[in-house]
Symmetry: C2
Subunit: 459 residues, 2 copies
């Protein structure tokens, strides 16, 4: 929105060297809004803007930019400038940017960083995308339980300006394992002489650094937390997932879930729809489409094997699309319900039987309605068709209706079963994508349709 | 998980009247985990548990239960007990529970509430589901900018225990409009004698009470906020959307988006997958399925009108499912990409032309690959088919390939266009559901297929 309204004014101000206007505009808006405007500019224009603003503001705006745009701007900076900027970023943003740079450039910047920052980057960069470790910050407040509330407040006053998240102070033991948490509200309300170990809440929800980001968003939501400690393999606290990073991760997970559901590969950390190249869009989508086209061979072969049935009653071909589509729709619906229920942990893979039982009953009611509809349709619209000797339109309607009923029930159950199976095998249920399901249901649907028609009509 | 492991033990403890065990179990776990265990019990057993626990713990656990289970337990309480429980709940939870009760029961409880609570309920209940007003809390810290930091801290110490969210104190003017915000960290770091108006951040992101919940989750995420003020029509601050309520709302939105995408109606505030009755599941799904089956009539009629073409070249029927399915898959993929990009505000409805241009290019590359595949398939697998005089298998392959190419491009563009159109008309892009899209693409696909076959092969 803003981007298109303001970008031309900013471009003009840059061209005229009107630094006053630039500074006053960017100082007055939220860094996230400033970043949206910047994306509308070329990276070298963005650089000119940055050179007009003070360092803190540059950092605030820079970390709101998509990583690929950050990377474009970073390429234009001198190694020293870039190192200064990188060391101002929060630890997680720092790693994302460094990973996006060409290797030589990254090595240069790493050289220029202080050793502690460099170690930090190396440690964080080791966590693969999609893990809690990859989205955690390493800046958090860890205190001994022996401190008094007064001492803790003094400590916070010294540290607060530097830390990303200060709402919770974590109480750690000598092995840096979190044994309690005190939030800022408790500190304010408590007696200054009370010891932290006496006022702390000793139930601390945690995640492991290797856990999926979904685990951290789940716990943050379930326990209504502002942040969540991240532990290493030994149980020591090494970082914090904050609520805002978790919300961004949640949006990304959802995008990926929906895209996987449609057989679209790839991740969505770095860029936006319009900034993604045609080639990347293509490569994310083509895999499944090719696989499914090849699989579609099977439906062709099935049809070919029923050529005689089709030849003797062409009418069957007219109702084929309806039968296949209804199967695809009912199957996708039950798959969607089950994928979401699994994601929200409303059900687990061991609930398979209860889910199947529920879907079976839903399917039976659905198939009554849809079969009645199909029966009426055949009787009403195909009454005048010339049929082979010995076959009445009523018999044809019965065959088509019966096939539809079986198709609805089997598609619903398959749609519910596939995601649960995926979950039990430890795979992502959303990966049992809607097109894959549709293709399976297409094939079973054709088999059901022609087998029943053959049987009922004796073709 | 917990539910199935612990519920039998708890049931046994209830039967034996072993209150000690019950109290020690429920005092030791997080209220959210306690609630999950309770759902495994019958409401009257849950009541016995509640009667063993102290009032604060009961409130904490109760507000973590799904609303329909809360309602079941509430039915078992005396009006006085229920009123006491209701007045302990946070304002937003209170309204949700009251709305779920039978009308007579609700009136009873309302009578028993204090007037201020009653007014609060009436005000909150007026906001429809899905608006920021319906998920806000009315408890927040609002201060005058004239207060000093020391005075503000004193005020917080008095109020903090009662308020849901105390991390941010909002500075309001005489019309209760928020003009600034001071967070707890700033208060701790500031000079005690400084005035709030001098240390406050005067950029306050807000939402209107009538805005969609999506607007509040978007702003909370975009600006990385812990809470977000909600304004009435006059711009006065009347509540706060907190980050945890926003995360729950975000999960719900995701579920509804995915379900709408599959033509499943209904909302998901009150209950979980397994607790939803077969009848409700059925009624959420049947609408679209019936509509699509009726629409599917059209594909039948199209096929009927091309009966001659089909009769003279049965081979065409074998490739029909592949053609229709590929159109459905490519269309759903582009629709998914565009729906998510719209939801994340990466694109807006006025970007229609840029999106179409991008999708058109993606489609052209995709159709090259898929058409080559289809051509090879026809030549390889249908080479031996007996064809009508004057038609070669090469010509058939060209016709099928050309139809597939046109189908891929048109389906991709239609898939991208429909959600943008919906957004421009102010409708939910996810509503342009995947099955609706598939049905449209089924129909255009059949038209494309037989028209091109007729033209190329001269049938």
């Amino acid at each position: 929105m803003l981007e298109q309204l303001i970008a031309p004014d900013i471009k003009a101000a840059i061209k005229d060297g009107n630094i006053q206007d630039i500074v006053s505009y960017f100082s007055d808006v939220h860094p996230a809004d400033a970043a949206e405007v910047l994306i509308g500019l070329d990276p070298d224009e963005a650089l000119l803007v940055f050179q007009s603003l003070d360092e803190d503001l540059v950092t605030d705006i820079f970390c709101e930019l998509p990583v690929d745009y950050q990377s474009d701007v970073a390429q234009l900076l001198s190694p020293a400038e870039l190192a200064a900027l990188v060391s101002d970023l929060s630890p997680d943003d720092r790693v994302d940017l460094l990973k996006s740079l060409p290797e030589a450039r990254m090595a240069e910047v790493m050289q220029a960083l202080e050793k502690s920052d460099r170690d930090d980057v190396n440690r964080l960069a080791a966590y693969p995308e999609g893990t809690a470790g990859s989205i955690m910050t390493t800046e958090f407040i860890a205190l001994s339980g022996q401190l008094t509330v007064h001492q803790a407040m003094e400590h916070l006053r010294r540290e607060a300006a530097d830390k990303e998240s200060v709402y919770n102070s974590y109480i750690i033991d000598r092995n840096r394992r979190p044994i309690g948490v005190v939030n800022l509200r408790d500190l304010i309300l408590a007696e200054p002489t009370a010891k932290l170990k006496d006022i702390m809440d000793d139930q601390v929800a945690t995640v492991n650094a290797d856990d999926d980001t979904e685990e951290s968003t789940y716990k943050l939501t379930r326990y209504a937390l502002v942040d969540l400690p991240v532990l290493d393999a030994a149980g020591a606290m090494i970082g914090l997932v904050t609520h805002d990073d978790a919300m961004v991760a949640l949006e990304r997970e959802h995008t990926e879930d929906m895209e996987r559901f449609m057989g679209i590969a790839g991740t969505h950390d770095d860029t936006t729809y319009l900034r993604t190249s045609v080639w990347v869009h293509f490569s994310h989508r083509v895999g499944w489409l090719v696989a499914l086209t090849v699989l579609g061979l099977v439906s062709g072969l099935i049809l070919q094997s029923f050529e005689n049935v089709l030849n003797s009653l062409m009418l069957l071909a007219f109702y084929m699309p309806m039968l296949v589509a209804t199967g695809g729709n009912t199957g996708s619906q039950s798959a969607t319900m089950v994928v979401r229920a699994l994601a929200l942990k409303e059900i687990h893979s061991r609930d398979a039987l209860r889910v199947i039982w529920k879907e079976l009953r839903v399917a039976l009611v659905l198939c009554l309605v849809l079969a009645a509809l199909a029966f009426g349709r055949v009787m009403l619209f195909s009454g005048g068709t010339i049929l082979p000797a010995g076959i009445s339109i009523f018999e044809v309607a019965v065959a088509i209706t019966l096939a539809l009923a079986v198709q609805v029930v089997s598609a619903t159950v398959i749609g519910a079963l596939l995601p649960i199976l995926a979950a039990r095998l430890g795979a992502d249920p959303a990966l049992v994508a809607s097109p894959a399901l549709t293709t399976i249901v297409d094939i079973t649907g054709l088999l059901i349709y022609f087998s029943i028609a053959k049987l009922v009509l004796g073709l």
